[in-house]
Every structure is written in C-alpha cells, then in structure tokens.
C-alpha cells in the first residue's frame, strides 16, 4: 500500500470532523469561513467577533457613508455562500492557549479548536490624551458605529472640522467635508499628505489637490492639545507652531494599531507590526518556527513577500484581506504539497477630491519615482516607483484602468524606469527621488532574546520591557 491513500483518508477525515475557530468577524474572517466551506470543510466552525454586527465593509465608511449616500448599517458584506457557523458576536477573544488548544473569551467561555485563524485586524489609534479624546465632538474612524456618529456630526454642520493626520482616511474625510461644503483644516506632521504610503513627490500633488478644493492644509505641524468648553464639547486645538484652530469637530486619523494584545502569552510572533506568518498564512511562534495549527490573515498578518526581498509586509488593504483569507483557509484544510502561497501584489484605492487614486506594489519600497503616463497638471497620470533599477510599485490618479499593466511589469521585475507609453506621455519622464521618510530604525533594546546553550536548546524568549 502506498502512503498516498492514508494521507488522503486523513484529509477527508479532517475536513469532516475537525473544529476550526476564526477570531475576527470581518472581511478576512468571513471570506475565510466561506472558503473553508467551498473547500469541502464540513466540520464545526466557530466565528468570534467583538463587534455586535454581522461582517460589514469598511471602505464605504469614509466615503459613501459620510456623504450620506449609504447609512452606516447598510454596509454589510455580501455573503458569497452559506457558512453554517456558530457565530459568537459581541464577545472578544481574550487569550489563545496553544497547549490545550482553546480560545478564551471575555465571557469566560473556552472554545476548543484543532486549527484557529487569527483575523482580528486593526483598530483606530485614539487621540493620545484620554481626557481630550473624551471631549464631545472628537472622533476616530474604523467601525460602523464610528461612521454613524461621524456622519451625524457632519450632517449637523459643524462650523469647522479639524482633521488630524493626512493619511488616506484623513484625506478622504477632508474631501467629504469639502463636498458637504464644510470648512475643514487638516493638520499633518509630515511635509505633505500621503507621504507615508506614496512619498513626498506624490504628497505634494495631494497637497495641491486639497488646497485647490479649499482645505486649510497645515503641514509640518502637530496638534499639541485639544480644548473643550464648559459643557465638555471640543472648541479649539493648539498646534505645535503656537497657532490655534477654532474647531467644533475633530477627527483623529492617526493610523491604526494591530489587535494583538489578546495573544499575549500565546508564544506567537505577535507584536506591533502584526502576527508574523509564512506566505501561506501559517503563524510563526516567537522562535520563528512555523506552527501547524495557528493561521493568520488580513490586516493583522505580516508575511514575507518574494518580490520585496522577503521583507515581512503587513498590508492594510481590502484585497489583501480577501485573497489572504482565501489562501489561508485553503491551507487550513489541505496538506503540504497543495498549499497555496499568498503572493498578492498589494494594492490600494482611495477616492478624494474627485480623483480616484490607486496603487499597486509597495511604493515605500522604492526610492525613485518617474511619471510615465498622462498629465500631472490634469491630475490624470501614472507614476512608477523604482528600486535598484527595477519597478516595484505604481500609483495612478484617475488612470486606474492601467494598473494591470504596471502590476504585470512589477511581477516580471521589469526595469525601472519602464518603457514609456506610446501616447499620452508626460513632459518629463526622468526619475527623481520619491522622498519617503527614513525607514524605521530598529529599537535599541531587543524585546526578544535568545537563550539556551545547545543549538537544539536555543530558543527565543519574549521579555517585556519594564517602563
């Protein structure tokens, strides 16, 4: 008898009888559940989510919902197939016990698993001063509830909105404010909007776009404090350049924090950048050894990418959550030779100030940029990012239909600058520095140390820093 038969038997049995738990009931969690069923998994499936809602879609929250086109509670994700799961909504997972293979819940329950998927995503970084953050009129934007409150507040027509942070979410909200004809100030510590994801050259264009649409954009300044009135409603903000902004509504768009705290003590490679995993979604433990039963997908996952020198990338993008979930779910119910890799080229889209911005690849991986198609003046162009003579990313403004072309070039590691297009060439095709901020310097004190004497004994150990 060959080995193949019992292994096939094993997989069949696993698919029929195993217990799978998914933590995080949003985009990645739902798509993973659907894929598990599509792959023929008929065992027990539990989906745990701390929000009380059925999985919903986030991109419309900063766009259609705020404009008042779609109510916040009409953003539920379409179900692609029946998932037949035990939904535990409104209760957070508080721990992962890998020895006994249980997920601990906030209500004291313990859910046993054979395999578990971590899809807990990220949350909004709150305004750091809790008293100021608690002022009436101070908002963050990540969830359906946030969006509903924000939309109401905008509809009540504040006299001025202050947006802190000009990343994608901050810029989108500023754009909505202008569409609603509300005065808005954007304060950004960096030199221009979107500099982190797209670099200073594109950031400059984004800045012009904001100013053209009447945004009071202040770059190179931070907000140092928020002040409220007697009734506890926010009234003004102090900026680091000693100016004051009168605003009765504030959105803190300060980026995101990965939801990994509940994994403390689980011995997984989880940290501020997410949960480390291989390109197949299998989580690493803190030693960097791949696990067999813990998987990760979506915003919280961090995996190496062949095209980016195996750098571990955490991608906070919609299509990454979908494809990552599909690939990981497949791997959860299959064996080694049939594993799928998750090698999606990261992509992002954003709508602001009447312009559709899309990017593909990892722009911050590039150090040069070249405009390759269209016209910057008309805000209708494509630009490519290069790193050591090859194209690593591209961004388009109102030229989204060309993205597959650039994705193809990136996948083939085509030379940078890429060959010019046959028509519609910009005036200047010469590459220039892309102006990304310095890459993060490693922290001085390691959180992880190696212990043990024998090679086989050497283990990594997590040592929380005392502050």
């Amino acid at each position: 008898m060959t080995m193949a038969a019992p292994i096939a038997e094993l997989v069949r049995d696993y698919k029929a009888n195993a217990r799978i738990v998914i933590v995080g009931a949003s985009l990645a969690g739902l798509r993973a559940a659907e894929t598990l069923r599509a792959e023929g998994f008929t065992g027990s499936l539990t989906i745990i989510g701390d929000e009380p809602y059925e999985p919903y879609d986030r991109p419309p929250l900063s766009k259609q919902v705020l404009k008042g086109w779609v109510p916040a509670d009409h953003t539920e994700l379409p179900r692609l197939r029946h998932v037949d799961a035990d939904w535990r909504l409104g209760v957070a997972a508080t721990g992962l016990d890998r020895d006994t293979k249980h997920v601990r819940l906030a209500n004291g329950d313990q859910v046993p698993y054979d395999r578990v998927l971590i899809a807990t995503g990220t949350r909004a970084r709150q305004w750091p001063n809790p008293t100021e953050a608690a002022l009436e009129g101070v908002f963050a934007l990540r969830t359906r509830d946030h969006a509903a409150r924000l939309q109401q507040a905008l509809a009540a027509r504040p006299s001025r909105v202050l947006v802190i942070g000009a990343g994608f979410v901050g810029s989108e909200v500023a754009s909505v404010c202008r569409e609603l004809d509300l005065p808005v100030t954007v304060a950004e510590r960096g030199p221009a909007p979107l500099v982190g994801p797209l670099g200073g050259v594109i950031g400059e264009i984004a800045a012009e776009m904001q100013r053209d649409h009447g945004v009071d954009l202040r770059c190179g300044v931070g907000v140092s404090s928020l002040e409220g009135d007697a009734s506890g409603h926010v009234r003004r903000a102090q900026l680091s350049d000693d100016t004051t902004i009168e605003a009765d509504m504030v959105l803190a768009a300060l980026g995101s924090i990965r939801n990994v705290e509940w994994l403390e003590g689980s011995g997984l490679a989880a940290g501020i950048w997410g949960v480390g995993c291989d390109a197949g979604g299998r989580a690493f433990d803190i030693n960097g050894v791949v696990t067999d039963s813990v998987f990760v997908a979506g915003d919280v996952a961090r995996a190496p990418h062949v095209l980016y020198e195996y750098e571990f990338l955490a991608m906070e993008h919609w299509d990454n959550a979908v494809l990552g979930a599909e690939v990981t779910a497949h791997n959860m119910v299959n064996l080694e030779p049939h594993y799928y890799p998750h090698l999606l080229l990261p992509g992002f889209w954003s709508g602001q100030f009447g312009v559709n911005i899309k990017s593909v690849g990892v722009p911050p991986f590039g150090d040069e940029i070249a405009f390759v198609q269209g016209s910057v003046k008309d805000r209708r162009f494509a630009a490519a990012y290069g790193h050591r003579g090859r194209i690593v990313a591209a961004v388009t403004f109102n030229q989204g239909k060309w993205l597959p072309h650039y994705a193809g070039l990136i996948e083939r590691s085509a030379p940078f600058p890429p060959p010019p297009s046959g028509w519609d060439q910009p005036d200047d095709l010469k590459p220039i520095p892309a102006e990304f901020p310095e890459h993060g310097v490693p922290t001085a004190i390691p959180d992880v140390v190696l212990t043990g004497h024998d090679p086989s004994e050497r283990r990594a150990e997590f040592r929380p820093r005392r502050r």
């Binding site: 009447g354 198609q373 269209g374 209708r380 030229q399 239909k401 597959p404 072309h405 297009s421 046959g422």
Partner: protein, 420 residues
Amino acid sequence: MSEETPWQQVLRHENRANPYPFYAELRKTPVARQPNGTYVVSTYREVVSLLHDNRVSSDPTKRPGTAPGADPAEPGTETITAADLEPSIIDSDPPEHDRNRSTMLRHFYGPPQSPHQISDLDPEIRRIVAGLLDNMKGKTRIDVVDDFAYPLPVTVICKVLGVPLEDEPRFHAWIRDALESFDLGPEPTSEEIQREVADGHRAVQEFGEYITELLDQYAEQPGPGMLSAMVHDDGPEGRMSQGTLVTNAVLLLFAGHETTVNLIAHSVLTLLRHPEALEKLRRRPELIVPGVEELLRFESSVQFWHTRSALDDIEIAGTTIPKGAPIFLLYGAANRDPQRFTDPDEVDLERPDNQHLGYSQGIHFCFGAPLARLEVQAAVGEFVRRVRNPRLVEDPPPYRRNQIFRGPRQVPVDIDGITD
C-alpha cells in the same frame, strides 16, 4: 493558391455559425502573423496582456496604410467608420479617449451625477420584455431575433439617448447597410460586394447627418436623454466638440443595441442547444446573473476588434509584433482558451472565476456593460420562465455577414405557448 490560414477560414461566411474549431487551430500560434501583415492574437493571456499594454493604440490614424512587410493584395484592415466622421472613443487613445469617455460616462451611470440612471430603467425593461412575450401569445412559431431580441435594446437605447423611437426604421436600415458592407473576409470582391461597400458608406454618412440634426434640435431646445445632456454639458472637461459628439452618439446608438441583440439571440440559441442548462435556469432563476456572464463568454457578442496597432515593437509569446502592425484581439477565441477556462466548450452557468472578455478589458471596456447586463438578464430570464417547450427549428440558423458583430439573422423557434 496557398492554403488558407485558420484566421482566413474564420472570416469566411460559411464558417460564421461555428468559428470555434478554427479558433482552436489559431490558438496553437497565440500571436499569428497573417499574409496581409495583421497580427491575430487568440489566447487569453496574450489578449489580456495587450489590452493593458500602453504601446497598443486604438487610433486607426496612427496606423500606416499597410503593415510592414504585408502583402498589399490582401484585403482586410479597413475600419468601420470609414465615412467622414471623427474618431469615436473606441477609435481613439488617451488623452482624447479618457476625456470623452468620462464626459459621456457622467450622463450614463457615473456617480455622483447619475448613479441611478441604469438601475432606474429596470422596471421599464421588464415591462418591455413582458409586452414582447405577451405578443407571442397564440403563436406556435416565433423568431427570437425579430420578435424578441431586437425590439428590447432598441427601445431602451432610444430612451437612454433621447432618440425618437419613430425613427427606428430609418436608422435600422442604416445600421443594417453599414454592417452588411463591412466584411473582412477573403470572399472575392464581386460587384455585389462593391455595391454593398458603397451602400455602407452612404448609410454611415446619412446616419451621421441624422444625428447631427437631432443634436442641433437639442441645442435649441433641451430634451430628455443623454444626447441632450451632453449637448448642454459644461462639465470639468469642458464641452465635447460637435464632431466628437456626433460620432460618439452614432457609436452609442449602434453599439447600444447591436451587440445586445446578438447576445440575447445567442443566449436563447445556446440554452436551446443545452437543455440541461435551460432546465437548471428554469429551476434556479437566480442563476441568471452568473448565467448571462457564462453565455457571454460562450458566444461573445463582439468576436474581435480590428482597429488596434503597435506603436512600438512588442515582444509577446515568442513573437515580435513590429511597430505599425495592425493587431486583432480575438475575444471569441480567448474566451474558449482551455488554458484559462476548464472545459471551455461546455456551458456552466455557475462557472467559478469567470473573467471572460465578452466586454473586453482595459480602457476600452464596454461602456454599456451595466445596461446590457440588465437587459439580457431580464430578457433571457423571462424567456426561460415564460416560453413553453421552445424548440429550435433550424440548427444552425442563418448568420449575418459581419464577423465582428457576429450573430444569427434569425432564430426560428417552435413553442407550445406563453405562460403568465
């Protein structure tokens, strides 16, 4: 005379009903150079790649008269709007293309101006479909083309554009003449064909004059529909020139129904040839949405497109398409590429990952796709539900001449009646 290439056989009228065996031959050479210098691309991967390649132009004026190294005696690279019309969006490159397309899109289904334009038509479309089926009551034989597939899209596109439906017989004749005259095939250039070509040119000319008059009327007195809105638009891109407006209006009126007629006719024909699929759709009407996509893959309304050319040497699939060469992208063949679709010659209404090229891809992706989808879903869905025991009278039915807008001239069907 040397043997015909598979492509030349595709172009023959006698093979119109079933070009697929020749497509299979063609796919063995994904990018096949023809004696007239045209490069015919038939495999999915290569078609998609060229649709997204910014060295491929759609503007016929950028193409030299004859392709380098071509045999000048070989016909087959002239364009359909040969009359004195300006290039439409389908025959132009960025930036003109982008400007005009987005100007038009605003009045079609582009948010924020008209996000509901298409979906609001749904009740009307369903009413028209119901009326057409009601008219068949008492009949035992119908023609799916004339009695059903044609009237729906024509009525709808007239309404969308604001073209008086009473004028339908006039532009119907122009469109027919234009289509008949346009033949890329190897059939000898007889006197009859010569005459048809002349007729076709005149038809396009008259069609253009008709639209010009209509636009002039709207300029004086605004009316309902997209054309009037476009005449009066001062959007961010400015107003379209009169000439551009005319060609694009002709294009919309033409493409807005011609392809949908074929799609409905072919969908019914395909379902009658595949009784299991028909039965499945009858039992599970919700499959109409993926089902129409599959029918569109199976019998693409636009089989290929013929105005593209290389602006540079393009290396693809081991071949170099030289700068200046005409490129024909074969949607019909790519949609049956076994490298991309499992069992491509089977009809699977639930086909997963059905990224067909029935509406093309890239910047020239079908402008009217959302409207066409709605119409065909309503028409085919209701046909399946209401027509009792439909049987094909003639298989294959007679086909029209045109190779690009391939479709049956008639689809006679015997029926047992119409349910309510």
